[in-house]
């Protein structure tokens, strides 16, 4: 009986011990990934902000500037690119829509970001663009990989169309969640004008060539990232843009086009924190809790199985023959004594 029980326990021990790495390194990358059809919008505000009035070409302080950042998963495109690359691809069509205090459009920058839905690595395919310009992203954008590590990452900057390190600056607590804080400063860099400008009829492509006025930008971006999901639960930017030189400024050296501390609107922070809190449990279950539990269970059952096996082989056990018993039975062979 003990021997049969030990074999059953051995079988269960092997099952749980083998299932643990399968869950962590096979099931987790396949099951935990960004859904290709996800749609999300985030509203950010700079209160107050400095904004250039293009009719007077003077910068003035305004109550607020709003940025609506939309990310829309393009399922048809992701399936098309998956067929050619053989990877789990997510395609995000994005739009940064900037509005002035009266709701008028300040600028719009569309883009297409193609990446691996689990590792967050960029996938290069035709159609990868920022504001109509073909780009080749290196590193991450918008989101960190699942199980984010305490290290610097390479982050793509859509304004400069280049990638640079975003530095891990420590672990913080944000609204009850443990998060990793990342920060990146983009130094003053000449950047192209957005295709969509606040003045109708302006051809952004030839504006610099015709006027000699160039657009410059610097920013410090900050992200508070929940490490299990890799999702930023908060983001801020201290962002400044200038126009420099040329005939557009009427002899002035430089004019501020935008300056402000951009923060996520409170209701969007609340919603993001709630979403991430509900998702992180599932990620941790598959990546950590279940594998470790199963590994512990497998080890425990194996120990129990070996213990039962050892007891069944001892004299008096019901398994293998006892030394010196001379038979195949053990206790059962010795029991019937003479009458």
């Amino acid at each position: 009986m003990r021997r049969r029980a030990s074999l059953v326990l051995l079988s269960l021990a092997v099952f749980f011990a083998a299932l643990a790495p399968v869950l962590r390194w096979y099931a987790f990358p396949r099951l935990v990934r960004i859904p290709p059809g996800q749609y999300q919008e985030t509203v950010l505000e700079a209160r107050p902000a400095t904004l250039l009035r293009y009719d007077t070409m003077r910068a003035e302080q305004v109550e607020k500037v709003t940025i609506v950042q939309t990310l829309k998963g393009n399922v048809e495109e992701s399936e098309r690119i998956e067929r050619s690359t053989g990877r789990d691809v997510v395609v995000w069509d994005s739009l940064s829509h900037v509005q002035g205090p009266d709701g008028e459009t300040v600028s719009q920058i569309p883009g297409r970001y193609i990446f691996d839905g689990h590792t967050q690595e960029p996938v290069h395919a035709p159609g990868e663009t920022v504001d109509g310009d073909p780009v080749r992203r290196e590193g991450i954008e918008f989101k960190w990989p699942f199980l984010t590590e305490k290290r610097d990452y390479v982050y793509f900057d859509a304004q400069t169309r280049t990638s640079a390190p975003i530095h891990y600056k420590g672990t913080r607590t944000f609204r009850g969640l443990e998060v990793y804080y990342f920060e990146q400063t983009v130094p003053w860099t000449k950047v192209p004008y957005p295709e969509k400008m606040p003045i109708p009829g302006i051809d952004a492509g030839t504006l610099e060539e015709r006027t000699g006025t160039t657009r410059w930008y610097t920013t410090t971006r900050m992200f508070w990232v929940e490490p299990a999901t890799g999702a930023p639960v908060n983001g801020e930017e201290i962002h400044t843009e200038e126009l420099r030189g040329g005939s557009l400024l009427g002899g002035r050296d430089r004019v501020t086009a935008f300056s402000g501390h951009v923060r996520m609107r409170e209701d969007y922070v609340d919603r993001t924190v709630a979403q991430v809190s509900s998702q992180r449990g599932l990620v941790l279950l598959l990546a950590s809790h279940l594998p470790w539990t199963f590994l512990g269970l497998g080890t425990g059952l194996l120990a129990l199985s070996l213990l039962l096996e050892a007891r069944s082989r001892r004299p008096g056990g019901d398994g293998a023959p006892a030394p010196g018993a001379g038979g195949a039975g053990g206790a059962a062979d010795r029991e019937p004594g003479p009458a």
Partner: protein, 45 residues
């Protein structure tokens, strides 16, 4: 021999899990009909 059978019977269901995961695919869903460009949304409910 019995121990080997026990080990094998523990590994078979794990192999089935692996095969199941290889065959099954998470449905991709559909592209949202919502537009990329929206006016500034009101408070999130």
């Amino acid at each position: 021999m019995r121990a080997l059978v026990a080990v094998a019977s523990g590994l078979v269901p794990v192999l089935l899990v692996v095969l199941l995961l290889a065959v099954l695919d998470v449905p991709p869903g559909e592209t949202s009909p919502r537009p990329l460009l929206t006016t500034v949304p009101g408070p999130v409910k």
